[in-house]
Symmetry: D2
């Protein structure tokens, strides 16, 4: 069957999460550069259709700990350094979705659907 509006809204939310993650994973990042990267991630994904807002927090404590363990003064961005929340509005259906670490894996999930 054709998708319903809430199903399409969830599809659109998924697109934004996949885009954000795979566009920016691997970026060199340090506690000092975390803020500019978080802003760029938010503003670039907010360009995409039906995307009302994106909030990215780079976990600088986790970042500092990972850098302490290694030989370099920066590391590569990956899911364990990120909390992301997004609000999608497709034809009046609002979808709230989040990415958070769970069991060492960055889990992306729909938190709420309002139609």
């Amino acid at each position: 069957m054709d998708p319903t509006d809430p199903q399409t809204a969830c599809f659109e939310a998924g697109i934004k999460f996949g885009s954000l993650y795979h566009q920016f994973a691997g970026t060199p990042v340090s506690p000092d550069s975390a803020d500019s990267l978080a802003r760029a991630m938010e503003e670039s994904i907010e360009n995409q259709p039906f995307c009302e807002s994106v909030t990215v927090e780079v976990l600088t404590d986790e970042l500092a700990a990972a850098i302490d363990d290694g030989a370099a003064e920066y590391t590569e961005l990956t899911g364990r350094f990120l909390d992301v929340e997004m609000l999608i509005d497709y034809e009046g259906v609002e979808v709230l979705a989040r990415m958070e670490m769970e069991d060492g894996y960055p889990l992306m999930a729909v938190a709420d659907v309002q139609s």
Copy 2:
């Protein structure tokens, strides 16, 4: 409200499309290297959870035309060189989704939801 299984299945389909697009957009590509890139795109995204199958076709005629117009012997992968079809299975809900060019823009859409 919490998402239904069909809504989560559509969210998962969206993640795969965003991932595929933003992981591989920008890759140097020519008609000769199109096939290995298409296989890598398919097999890498098929690793993701709930992803039954991915079919990627790189439009080599479009590719050849774009290269003819330019100064180099290759170009960068972007949506206008791609047809993608994906099958997601989440808790028995099957979602078929596609990416195709429409009005010069790579449109990702859910084609069918079976629950």
Copy 3:
């Protein structure tokens, strides 16, 4: 033969250009979000070893023109929207390198080597 210090400095400059380009190409960008993206590109690449400074200018006029031509309100970052200048210092050898459009192709080149 083993590389000389100026040769290694040029190798390091090349790494930074390839990194910057292929990390960020494909990012959704509009005139409004161009500034945050440029700052993130600069600060993330400045994390890399031997990288003294990076200056990124996103060509917002070119961006606006490309968006006018299309169906969406944003486009994907590619070389034709970018001017980049970088200063590398490896063991006292300074390399200045630039990326600029030339014949419709984003040309990366070493402008000056001081040892």
Copy 4:
């Protein structure tokens, strides 16, 4: 001063390494999909100017060990799963360069310059 041909050859080698790494880092990969990804990496980067050959080995033992430690059946491509060797030829100057793990960090280095 303007760069010499060997310096430009080393700059070109650096571009290819940065491109390869930041284009493909973050790709979902498993032992089963490692081979198609390695071929795509080789063939895509060989499109770039002055690039004679690229050899990519994905370290499937390392990959399998990383996957055993985690909750998923795949992981994200990063430097610790890669050995890369490249041959650049710029105006008759041949540069051999490699990326290998050293002290837990993927070190890219020029191995040999022949002019």
